[in-house]
Subunit: 201 residues, 2 copies
């Protein structure tokens, strides 16, 4: 595993945060002090169903998926996260109830984590972070709305093409059977769509 | 139609807001000044697909549904809103792109609306509203996560029962065929579930 590069990670998260809010030098220093680095091996879990999720997590490097498991043991991918994404079982983090999702690293992944109580303190110490996370949640909400709309109103092929266009990096880094699961397709059905698209080119 | 009772509406929204944040008398007055009352008849649209949604809307009295229309003209209920809910086409409001949803009053409905530019001003003038809407979005995000999880992991009957338990008021006020649409059932399938539940009591 690669060692965690704290300097580069801090630079990355500050650049990310400052796309939405302005911070003073003191606020930056305070924020960075709250963050804990963590390295996950491939297939290691960040969150496990049934355990309370206590961290908000920023992806510095790597790739993860969140998934739920149905009563038959079948996995369903709910979302992916790459560099510069935040991921957690948001419900569990907020309510302190056991997680209903798993979050698993798909490759070696470096993250910065902030514990719930430190995050609450951060909101009080640096209120600009209220704005930052409001805007992040706003975007997440919009992509949920998009996803519902796309499920309702687009054909399977259109949904696959929209996914590829919206998340080109995920398409390159994630195995096809997981993309199929995210889209609610069987792997065979996704292969069929891909073959049809290829012959039409 | 009943006249809009501004005093009662202001009292209601202040009570609602102050469950999550504290406001000074000046902040309350400033906030209330930004709000515009509106009365919708039954079947009147608050948001129409294709038009840019310019308002965030708080329901004082009444009931609405947000729905999308698929290419075959079939309607799909995305969410309901009752008293004390906020509703808009959030994507359209944020991005200023045309709405992908309709929002329609299911009964005579009284709302308070705040225009996007006044809302942006409000965030600057009263930063506690950043927190307020962050917490509101957080709850919305959690119910989306719940809904995805429930679709994946529960039987149709369990989903219907969970809906009834979670939203008892909606169950009482909204026609069954719209609840069927929200749950992704045909009306016939929902009737069948209800009959089965009734015979088991």
């Amino acid at each position: 595993m690669q060692p965690f590069d704290t300097g580069a990670a801090h630079e990355r998260i500050l650049r990310h945060v400052q796309q939405l809010i302005q911070l003073t030098e003191d606020e930056k220093a305070y924020f960075l002090e709250q963050l804990k680095p963590r390295v996950l091996r491939r297939k290691q879990f960040l969150v496990q169903m049934g355990e309370v999720c206590r961290f908000e997590t920023f992806v510095v490097k790597g790739c993860l998926r969140a998934f739920a498991v149905d009563p038959k043991g079948q996995e369903h991918v709910v979302l992916f996260a790459l560099e510069d994404w935040w991921i957690s079982d948001f419900q569990s983090l907020s309510t302190e109830q056991p997680a209903t999702l798993y979050v698993e690293a798909l490759e070696e992944t470096h993250v910065l984590q902030i514990e719930k109580k430190e995050l609450e303190q951060l909101y009080l110490a640096v209120p600009a972070f209220e704005r930052f996370f409001r805007l992040k949640l706003q975007n997440a909400f919009i992509s949920f709305q998009n996803r519902i709309f796309s499920t309702i109103s687009q054909t399977a092929e259109e949904r696959y093409l929209a996914f590829r266009q919206r998340y080109p990096l995920i398409e390159q880094r994630v195995p096809q059977y997981l993309i199929a699961s995210y889209l609610g397709f069987t792997p065979e059905f996704l292969s069929k769509i891909r073959r049809e698209l290829a012959t039409r080119r």
